[in-house]
C-alpha cells in the first residue's frame, strides 16, 4: 500500500467536525436582515413565445413584493450591449425576451417576505403562450448533429481512417448513455444582496468563486472588486456548480427590483431543468486487431446533445486517441441541439461517457480474441503518448493492473462467460481503465505565519467535498513541519488570491502548488530573517518573529507550471475491478465487490483521497446500474424528476469498496508529485460493471443503466 515515508501526517478532514455537527454553513443558511424569498415560475410549454403573464393575483397575494419577468425587469447593463456581448458563455439571458426554449424555463420570479408566501403566489402567476413545435428526442434528431466550434473537439485522424475494417478481428458496436442529472443533496440557488447601486455581495453555491464573480461583474457591468462572492461550503456539485446559471442572475435582478436581499433556493424538480445534466450520448466504436491481439485500428464516433440556445461540448472521444497503441485512430464528436436546458459537465464528464464505450469495446475485442482483458490491454500498452508523440510524465498502469487483479481475485474469473455460479446467481468479473488529464493551472495563495505558532493560508479555491482544505493543510505541513492542527486554510471567498474553479481534478495540483510555493517562500524568508537577526538559519519561526518583534510575516505568490507541460503528457490513471452477481430469473444485478486502483502520483492526503475513490465508485455504480433521466417527448417534460424515481445508489447497492493507490510521485507535474484524482475515480467504472455482467451472463449490455429488464430482454 502507501509508502509511509512519503507522508508525514495522515490527517482527518479538517472541516469534518463542522460538517457533521451542522456548524458548517451553506449558502441557503445565511441570513441577512430584511431577506426576501424568490420562487421561480417555470414555463409549462417547451418551445414558443410568452404571449402574456397574468401576475395580478400573485401581486395581490399577501407578502408579495414583486413579480419579476421580461416585462418589467430592471436594466441589466450587460444584457443591453448587443447580441452575446458581456455575458460569458452565451449564457441564456433570463427574463430577456418572450422566447421559450425548453420546458421549465423560468418566465418570472415571485418575491415575497416569506418562502411559503412566495411558493403560493408563484402558483397564481399564469403564463399564456404561443406554442411551437419542439425537438427533445435525441435519437430522432441525430441527423441534425453539428460539429462543435471548439477546435479541441475537432475530428482526429492518425494513420488511416476506419482501418479496423481491414483487420483480421473486428468489433463494431454502438453504445447509448441516457441523460443523467447531477442531483447533489444541496439544492441550487443564491442569496443576493446589493450593498449599494453598484456593489453586490452574494452567498452562492459554486465550484468557483472567481468564476462566479466574473460572470456577475460582466452581466451587470460592475468592477470585479464590487462583486463579493462567498461560498465556503458546497453540498455537492458533481460539475453542476461549475458555472453561473441564469437562475442566479434572476435572483440578482430580483434583488435589484425589490431593493432587498433575495434568497432563491430552487426545488428538486427544478434541479432537473435549470442546473444542467449529463447529455444523452450515442457512440459507435470500431476496433480492429490482428490475431495476436495487436490493435490496428480504432474508430470512435460520438454524439451528445446540447441546448438550442447554447452549445455545450465535452471530451468524449479523447481517450481513444492515446490510451492504446494503435497506428490508426480516427474520432469525431458532434452535438445535437435540443429544446432542453443546457447540459454541464457531470462526474468524470465526457471522458466517463467515452470510457464506457471504449472500455466496453475493448472487452468485446478481448472476448473475440479469446484473450484475458488485462492481457489484451497490456499487449496494447503505450509507453509514450501516441497522440502527442511525447513521453508521459509518469504512468504505472502495469503495476496497477497487478495490484487490482490480486485484490479482486481475478484468477477466479473464467474467460468463458456464464460459467461461474454461486447458487442460482451467475458470477462475473469485469475491469476497465480510466484516464483523465492531470493538469496544473495557475493559482495564487497567501500565507501568514503568526507569532502564536499558527499558519493561515488563503486562496479563492472551492471545496465541493473532496477535502481541499485537508489536502492544502497537509501540503503546508510537509513543507513547514508545522502540526496540521496549527494550520488553517481558508477558501470560498472571492477577495482571496485568485484560484481556478474546482473542476477537472485540478485543485490539489494547482492550488496545492501555490500553497507549496508560498510555504517554501515563507521558509526562506524566516531563514533570512533569522540569520539577519543573529539566530541560526534553522531557528523556529515563532522565535524569529519574536526576536524581530513581528506579530506575523506574510507572503502572497502566484504559481504555475512551466516547460515540463510541453515536454510531457500528464495523465492520471485508474483501473476499476468489480465482481457482480446476476439473478438470471429476475434480472437483478448486484455488484458484490469493488476494487479501484488509482495511479495519480503521490497521495498527499490518504484519507480524503480514498474518499474520492469511494465516491467515484458510487457515482460509477449509479451510472452503470440505476441513473437515468427520463423525458416524455410528447410534452418535453421529465417524468422522474424526484429522488424517489431518479435512482441514485443507496447503501444497499454499495458493496465493500477497496481502494488501492500506486502512490509513486510524478517527477514533473508539480512540487508535490501529486496528480489530480477526482474524475478518474469514476471514469471507466460503468464499463467495468457492463464487462462483469457480460462475463457473468454472456449478455452484452450497451445501453446504460443496466436495469433488470435489460438483463431479461
Amino acid at each position: 500500500m502507501r509508502d509511509k515515508s512519503l507522508l508525514k501526517e495522515d490527517t482527518d478532514r479538517v472541516d469534518g467536525f463542522d460538517k457533521v455537527t451542522g456548524r458548517a454553513k451553506y449558502f441557503a443558511e445565511y441570513q441577512i436582515p430584511g431577506t426576501t424569498y424568490g420562487v421561480l415560475v417555470p414555463s409549462t410549454i417547451t418551445k414558443g413565445k410568452i404571449t402574456g403573464i397574468d401576475s395580478k393575483a400573485a401581486e395581490r397575494a399577501p407578502g408579495v413584493l414583486a413579480v419579476v419577468s421580461h416585462l418589467n425587469r430592471p436594466v441589466v447593463a450587460g444584457y443591453e450591449t448587443g447580441k452575446d456581448q458581456g455575458v460569458p458563455n452565451n449564457m441564456m439571458k433570463i427574463f430577456y425576451t418572450d422566447q421559450i426554449s425548453f420546458n421549465g424555463q423560468p418566465i418570472a420570479m415571485v418575491v415575497a417576505d416569506t418562502y411559503e408566501r412566495a411558493v403560493y403566489a408563484a402558483t397564481l402567476v399564469k403564463g399564456t403562450y404561443a406554442k411551437e413545435a419542439f425537438e427533445t428526442d435525441f435519437e430522432k434528431n441525430l441527423s441534425k448533429a453539428k460539429a462543435p466550434k471548439n477546435p479541441a473537439q475537432a475530428s482526429y485522424l492518425r494513420g488511416t481512417a476506419d482501418a479496423y475494417k481491414n483487420a483480421a478481428v473486428q468489433i463494431e458496436a454502438s453504445y447509448t448513455l441516457p441523460t443523467e442529472t447531477h442531483n447533489p443533496m444541496e439544492l441550487h440557488g443564491i442569496l443576493a444582496n446589493w450593498e449599494s447601486a453598484d456593489k453586490i455581495t452574494v452567498y452562492a453555491k459554486t465550484q468557483g468563486v472567481k468564476a462566479t464573480q466574473g460572470t456577475i461583474a460582466s452581466t451587470f457591468k460592475l468592477p470585479l472588486t464590487n462583486v463579493q462572492v462567498n461560498s465556503e461550503f458546497v453540498g455537492g456539485g458533481f460539475g453542476m456548480a461549475l458555472r453561473t446559471w441564469p437562475l442566479e442572475i434572476a435572483a440578482i435582478i430580483a434583488a435589484k427590483q425589490v431593493n432587498k436581499p433575495v434568497k432563491l433556493v430552487i426545488t428538486r424538480d427544478q434541479m432537473f431543468t435549470l442546473a444542467g445534466h449529463r447529455p444523452y450520448a450515442f457512440q459507435k466504436v470500431g476496433l480492429g486487431a490482428d490475431k495476436d491481439g495487436q490493435l490496428t485500428g480504432i474508430t470512435h464516433e460520438a454524439w451528445g446533445h446540447t441546448a438550442t440556445y447554447e452549445d455545450f461540448t465535452e471530451n468524449v472521444v479523447s481517450m481513444s486517441k492515446f490510451m492504446y497503441n494503435s497506428a490508426n485512430v480516427n474520432t469525431t464528436y458532434k452535438i445535437v441541439p435540443l429544446n432542453v436546458g443546457v447540459p454541464i459537465w457531470m462526474r468524470g464528464p465526457g471522458e466517463a461517457t467515452g470510457a464506457f464505450a471504449l472500455e466496453s469495446a475493448m472487452d468485446e475485442m478481448a472476448h473475440s480474441l479469446d484473450m484475458d482483458p488485462i492481457a489484451f490491454r497490456v499487449k496494447n500498452y503505450t509507453e509514450e503518448d501516441p497522440e502527442k508523440s511525447r513521453p508521459y510524465s509518469s504512468k504505472n498502469l502495469k503495476e496497477a493492473y497487478k495490484m487490482g487483479a490480486e485484490k479482486i481475485g481475478w484468477s477466479k474469473r473464467n474467460n468463458k462467460p456464464g460459467t461461474n455460479k454461486d447458487g442460482n446467481w451467475l458470477v462475473g468479473y469485469g475491469m476497465s481503465t480510466g484516464v483523465f488529464n492531470a493538469s496544473r493551472g495557475r493559482a495564487s495563495a497567501k500565507g501568514i505565519l503568526k507569532s502564536d505558532g499558527t499558519l493561515l493560508l488563503q486562496s479563492a479555491a472551492s471545496d465541493i467535498g473532496p477535502g481541499t482544505g485537508t489536502g492544502m493543510v497537509q501540503i503546508a505541513h510537509e513543507v513547514l513541519g508545522i502540526p496540521v492542527s496549527k494550520i488553517t486554510f481558508e477558501l470560498g471567498d472571492s477577495s482571496f488570491p485568485t484560484a481556478p474553479s474546482q473542476g477537472g481534478s485540478a485543485t490539489l495540483s494547482t492550488v496545492g502548488s501555490a500553497v507549496s510555493d508560498v510555504c517554501n517562500a515563507l521558509k526562506a524568508k524566516i531563514a533570512e530573517m533569522a540569520t539577519q537577526s543573529g539566530l541560526s538559519a534553522s531557528a523556529k519561526f515563532v522565535d524569529v518573529l519574536k526576536k524581530n518583534n513581528l506579530p506575523s510575516v506574510e507572503v502572497t505568490m502566484e504559481s504555475k507550471g512551466g516547460e515540463e507541460q510541453k515536454k510531457y503528457s500528464m495523465y492520471s490513471f485508474s483501473i476499476h475491478f468489480v465482481q457482480v452477481k446476476v439473478n438470471p430469473l429476475t434480472g437483478v444485478v448486484k455488484v458484490s465487490k469493488i476494487v479501484s486502483v488509482g495511479d495519480s502520483g503521490r497521495i498527499v492526503s490518504p484519507k480524503t483521497a480514498r474518499s474520492q475513490m469511494v465516491g467515484g465508485a458510487v457515482g460509477g455504480l449509479g451510472m452503470a446500474l440505476t441513473e437515468e433521466t427520463v423525458m416524455d417527448h410528447r410534452f418535453g417534460r421529465y417524468v422522474n424528476n424526484n429522488f424517489a424515481d431518479y435512482h441514485v445508489p443507496v447503501h444497499a447497492d454499495i458493496p465493500e469498496i477497496e481502494v488501492v493507490f500506486v502512490n509513486k510521485p510524478d517527477p514533473y507535474i508539480n512540487p508535490m508529485g501529486a496528480k489530480g484524482m477526482g474524475e478518474i475515480a469514476l471514469i471507466g467504472f460503468s464499463a467495468a460493471v457492463a464487462n462483469a455482467v457480460f462475463n457473468a451472463t454472456g449478455k452484452r449490455i450497451r445501453t446504460l443503466p443496466i436495469t433488470p429488464d435489460k438483463i431479461l430482454a
Binding site: Y120, T123, L585, D632, V639, A652, L712
Partner: protein, 327 residues
C-alpha cells in the same frame, strides 16, 4: 395560501364523525404520502383530521385471527414477534417497502390508502384521469415502464404501489371499516378495485369510512413463505414486479398455496388460478413454470413495460423456489 384546518382526534368514532361533517376532509396518519401530494398540488383537503392518537395500534392474536390496528406503523408490524412467527410473508413484504425512516412513520391504513406513483398523476400539468378525470391517461402512450399488465383500462394503467398489501391479499385478510352507518367488513381482495371507468377511485372505501384494522387468519404457510421484490435498486424503490408466495408442504406435496403479485395491476393482484393449479401437486420446477404460465393469462403490455411479461412469471418461479427451499 391554500389554507386548511387541522384537528386531532382520540377516538375512531369522533374521527368518523368529523370526516362526515366536512366534504373535503382527509385523515392524516404518518403523512408520508398525503403531505407529498399536498405539496405537489395533487390534493388540497380543507381539513386534516389527525388520527395518530386514536388507539388503533394493536398487534395481537385474537383466537385464530391476527388483529393489526390501522395505526400500527409499518415498522411495528414488520418487527413484531407474532407477525414474524406466524406471518413472515407480511414482515418481509413490509421490509421491502420504502425506507426505514418512512416505515417508522407509515401506518397500515395509510399504506393501504397510498396513491399510485405514476409520474403523470404527480405532475399537475400533465393529463391524468386519476387526478383530473376526463383529462386522459398520460401513461398509456407515454412512459409506462412501471405500469400495469393486468386489469388495465382504457382510462388508467397505473399500479397500486404497496408491498404490504401484496402480502395481505395473499394471506386472505379482511379489512374492518367504520363509517357513519357503523362497522362493516370487507375481504382484503375486494378493498382495492380496478381502474375501470372510475380511475379516480382506488378502492371501495365509502365516503366517511375509516380503516379500523386488518384481520389475518392463521395458516400453515409460515415455514415456506417468501416475498421477492424486483426493483431498479436494492432498496428505496418501488417494485417493477413483486411476488408474495406462501406454501404449505407435506414432503414435497403442496397442500396449500397463496400467491399474489405487485407492480402489475391497479390493485394487489391475487393469483387464484395459479394457486388452484398448484394445490395438490408436487413442488417441482416444472409445476412452478406451469403455474407461472397460468398466472400470466390475459396479461397485456404497453410500449415500455413488455419486459414484465417475462419478469413477472420468472419472479413467481423465483419466489416459489425460495419459499420452498426456505429452512
Amino acid at each position: 395560501m391554500i389554507n386548511f384546518t387541522y384537528v386531532r382526534t382520540t377516538t375512531a368514532k369522533a374521527a368518523v364523525g368529523l370526516l362526515a361533517k366536512e366534504k373535503n376532509a382527509k385523515f392524516i396518519a404518518g403523512g408520508t404520502n398525503l403531505v407529498d401530494l399536498m405539496k405537489r398540488g395533487v390534493t388540497a383537503p380543507d381539513r386534516l383530521i389527525d388520527i395518530n392518537a386514536v388507539p388503533l395500534k394493536q398487534i395481537e392474536l385474537v383466537g385464530n385471527m391476527m388483529h393489526i390496528g390501522a395505526l400500527a406503523t409499518n415498522t411495528a408490524v414488520a418487527e413484531h414477534e407474532l407477525v414474524k412467527l406466524h406471518f413472515p410473508l407480511l414482515s418481509l413484504a413490509l421490509q421491502a417497502g420504502a425506507s426505514q425512516q418512512l416505515r417508522n412513520a407509515a401506518t397500515v391504513g395509510g399504506n393501504m390508502m397510498q396513491r399510485t406513483r405514476c409520474g403523470y398523476f404527480y405532475d399537475t400539468t400533465m393529463p391524468c384521469n386519476k387526478r383530473a378525470p376526463g383529462t386522459g391517461c398520460g401513461a398509456i402512450t407515454g412512459y409506462n415502464r412501471m405500469h400495469a399488465i393486468f386489469g388495465g383500462s382504457e382510462q388508467c394503467i397505473a399500479v397500486h404501489p404497496s408491498d404490504m398489501c401484496i402480502a395481505l391479499v395473499a394471506l386472505d385478510s379482511t379489512v374492518v371499516l367504520s363509517g357513519p352507518k357503523g362497522e362493516r367488513k370487507l375481504k382484503f381482495i375486494d378493498f382495492h378495485k380496478l381502474a375501470g371507468t372510475t380511475p379516480d377511485k382506488d378502492n371501495n372505501l365509502l365516503p366517511g369510512e375509516m380503516i379500523i384494522r386488518v384481520e389475518i387468519p392463521t395458516n400453515k404457510l409460515a415455514a415456506h413463505s417468501y416475498y421477492v421484490k424486483v426493483r431498479d435498486r436494492a432498496s428505496y424503490a418501488f417494485a417493477l414486479v413483486s411476488v408474495a408466495a406462501g406454501l404449505e408442504l407435506q414432503g414435497n406435496k403442496i397442500v396449500d398455496v397463496k400467491l399474489a403479485m405487485g407492480g402489475v395491476a391497479h390493485k394487489p393482484w391475487r393469483l387464484l388460478e395459479a394457486e388452484t393449479f398448484l394445490k395438490g401437486k408436487m413442488a417441482t420446477e416444472a409445476n412452478f413454470k406451469s403455474a407461472a404460465q397460468i398466472a400470466m393469462k390475459n396479461a397485456k403490455a404497453y410500449k415500455e413495460n413488455a419486459f414484465k411479461l417475462k419478469m413477472a412469471p420468472n419472479t413467481l418461479i423465483e419466489a416459489l423456489n425460495l419459499a420452498k427451499s426456505k429452512a
